[in-house]
């Protein structure tokens, strides 16, 4: 099983990310489907609890908000760690629409992004292969001070100062 950072710890995780091609014939287990494939499922499958959507970086998702907000897990894909669109995706889902399920960052992220990912509302993060996850945990606490509002910070520093 793969490992990822969830909350403040390293956990084993069974959710498997499927591509559009793989989504034609679903294996058993916890599955993350491309958003379009997930939306095409019938209500029963979508609410089964072991199928969830992943959103590609830059993919439009707001047309599907009513369904997304009921998903147990939403993954956001970062094709490279330099592609920061997923931070806005998270802010919109978590900060603006108060998504309550688990928000996961998948793809090629580096530990130096953990603090910002957490601030934008991600609860779990898959880091690039070869990362010492236990060592990376400390990056979640790189900063104790934040100036601005974000998904995890309701009031800016200037209202708390």
């Amino acid at each position: 099983m793969q490992k990822l950072i969830k909350g403040n710890s390293v956990v084993e995780d069974s959710w498997k990310v499927l591509s559009a091609e793989q989504a034609d014939n679903l294996p058993v287990g916890n599955l993350l489907l491309p958003l379009a494939n997930w939306l095409a499922l019938d209500d029963t499958s979508r609410h089964s609890g072991n199928i969830a959507p992943w959103i590609e970086s830059g993919e439009e998702f707001e047309h599907a908000l009513d369904k997304l907000l009921k998903a147990p897990l939403i993954a956001v894909h970062f094709p490279t760690f330099m592609d920061g669109r997923g931070f806005s995706t998270a802010e919109i889902l978590r900060g603006r629409h108060q998504y309550q399920g688990e928000l996961r960052a998948i793809g090629n992220l580096i530990q130096d992004q953990l603090f910002f990912l957490k601030r934008c509302g991600f609860d779990s993060v898959q880091l690039r292969e070869g990362t010492d996850l236990e060592a990376a945990l400390s990056a979640l606490a790189d900063f104790s001070i934040t100036y601005q509002t974000s998904a995890d910070t309701q009031t800016p520093l200037f209202r708390r100062r």
């Binding site: 806005s88 601005q148 800016p156």
Partner: protein
């Protein structure tokens, strides 16, 4: 100026610790070059042609004498004894050791300075008018607003991996000295008919390979909404700015592709859900921020007597009179003036200052200007609050220090990037071209006769030397390994900002001075009365200049 409290200091020390860890991981091989790249850039660290380069942030150009002395120490201890003032009011070290950068950042943090977001694809240092707070034509002091933007943009979690860099400038006067129309966001402080304060918002200006003048997207944004609205612009850009081609990734390309009207609608839609939310500025916070920019303890001076004294000093000393006419600017308080220390003596790279000169500037600031200075986007330094009775004494002190070159705003007050001597992006050298031109125009009478004239030089199309908006712009180009220089005419970066037009085929470096001479001759022959170079150019167009420069000898 803004005073850090324990929150700001805590954040800086955490940033230093974070970067120290990142540098150690890189040196230990745990971080790849590609992964370390954005992390070091977001701390201002480039790997350059000859050595790393560290760009340190000078928020909206303000520096205290304490900070200047620290910079002098850093230049001496960690570098080769000099620093470089940039066109975005920042300061660069050109020879630091990578291993020592965390120590340099720790030293900077001791005086509330840093290198956060001075490079990389993030929100950069907010720039402003060097005469903020003292300019007679000011509607509102832009510095508190710049500081609010600085805090909002510092380590913003959503906008650290934008498609490309992002620059914001704020002007508090209608006469724009902050070049806001060539920034990703330009903010003009204005008052509406009811006397309420707000911002006119421009987006999508920028230089580089595709120079564009910013487009108006909002006439009047009430001040309370500044940060929520900026957040909306950045989110729209972060989501929709192009990421497939770095040369098409700036916000200007998105604004052009969508049109400013559509871009404004998208921002509006993104903004409305957050309008009046918790990021809305409060009167208390604005008042708190303004307390850091209150007027210093000005004396009540007898303006008439002061002017009388100055007049006779000027009459008795032509050199002093010349300096007064070019390097001293009006101040809103009677009996005071703003003094520009020129960093453009011939033979020195524009904007370069030694460690001992930094200390001298610190001493001058303490003696004459309440301990503060401002870096300008023209790569000079301003003492903003000098008593006019002290001008003569100040002038006598700065002349031997090399700061009294009486050419501010003239053809030899050249804006120039570091160019091919230092920068790995450059196609051509720029500093030697600046020096050659300065040597050709050492006759001050001729320089003064030419009057206000900006000459800007960039060593490549990235345009760090702002060549597109120089009245005369020079661009270094590489043709099959040889350095050539293209000349543009008619650019300006003020409230009537416009881009220069290319004169024609480029020139060998040795021919640049004679080409400039021909251009100036056309101006001198064609001008009417007190017409400035830019006015003559706009009246007669580029053709007469082309004809004069490219005319075949009979």
């Amino acid at each position: 100026m803004y005073q850090y409290d324990h929150y700001d200091r805590q954040l800086l020390s955490e940033r230093v610790a974070q970067f120290r860890g990142q540098t150690e991981r890189y040196l230990a091989g745990e971080l790849s070059d590609a992964e370390f790249l954005p992390l070091r850039l977001q701390n201002g660290l480039y790997i350059q042609r000859l050595a790393p380069m560290l760009r340190m942030a000078v928020p909206y150009g303000l520096l205290s004498s304490t900070q200047l002395r620290k910079l002098a120490h850093i230049a001496r201890h960690y570098d080769k004894g000099y620093v470089h003032f940039t066109t975005r009011q920042n300061i660069q070290l050109h020879w630091p050791n990578l291993e020592e950068v965390p120590d340099i950042l720790a030293e900077l943090a001791q005086v509330d300075m840093h290198a956060i977001q001075t490079s990389g694809n993030c929100v950069r240092n907010t720039t402003s008018d060097q005469f903020a707070g003292v300019a007679p034509d000011e509607i509102e002091d832009p510095r508190p607003w710049c500081e609010l933007i600085r805090q909002w943009s510092t380590l913003h979690p959503e906008f650290a991996f934008l498609p490309r860099k992002f620059k914001i400038a704020v002007s508090g006067s209608q006469n724009d000295r902050a070049a806001i129309l060539i920034h990703d966001i330009g903010l003009q402080l204005v008052k509406n008919d009811q006397g309420e304060l707000g911002f006119t918002v421009f987006v999508g200006g920028g230089l580089g390979r595709t120079p564009v003048i910013g487009s108006l997207i909002r006439d009047f944004l009430p001040w309370q909404h500044l940060l929520t609205y900026l957040n909306a612009i950045l989110r729209v850009y972060n989501r929709y700015g192009r990421r497939d081609n770095k040369y098409k990734a700036r916000i200007k390309i998105l604004v052009k592709a969508w049109t400013p009207e559509v871009f404004a609608e998208k921002v509006e839609a993104e903004w409305l859900p957050y309008k009046d939310g918790s990021l809305t500025l409060t009167a208390e916070e604005v008042a708190r921020t303004k307390t850091f920019f209150t007027l210093p303890a000005y004396k009540t001076l007898d303006a008439a007597a002061v002017e009388q004294q100055l007049h006779s000093q000027a009459l008795a000393n032509t050199d002093f009179q010349r300096w007064l006419s070019r390097n001293v600017s009006a101040h809103r308080v009677p009996g005071y003036a703003a003094v520009t220390l020129s960093l453009k003596p011939t033979g020195v790279a524009p904007g370069d200052v030694t460690d001992s000169q930094l200390e001298a500037i610190a001493d001058l600031a303490d003696s004459y200007s309440f301990g503060e200075v401002r870096a300008t986007h023209n790569q000079n330094v301003v003492l903003a609050d000098v008593e006019k009775t002290a001008l003569f004494e100040l002038w006598q002190k700065i002349a031997p220090l090399g700061f009294a070159t009486p050419t501010v705003g003239t053809i030899t007050d050249i804006i120039c990037c570091p160019g091919g001597d230092f920068c790995s992006l450059a196609n051509a050298k720029s500093i030697p071209i600046a020096e050659t031109i300065q040597r050709h125009y050492e006759d001050l009478d001729y320089v003064y006769d030419l009057g206000d004239l900006s000459l800007n030089i960039s060593g490549c199309m990235n345009a760090c030397g702002h060549h597109h908006v120089g009245n005369i712009g020079i661009l270094g180009v590489d043709k099959k390994g040889e350095e050539f220089y293209q000349i543009q005419l008619g650019g300006r970066s003020d409230e009537n900002a416009g881009l220069g037009a290319v004169l024609g085929p480029s020139f060998y470096p040795q021919d640049v001075p004679s080409v400039i001479a021909k251009i100036l001759q056309v101006y001198v022959d064609s001008r009417q009365q007190e017409e400035l170079f830019i006015d003559t150019y706009e009246r007669i167009g580029i053709t007469p200049f082309k004809e004069a420069v490219y005319a075949k000898a009979d």
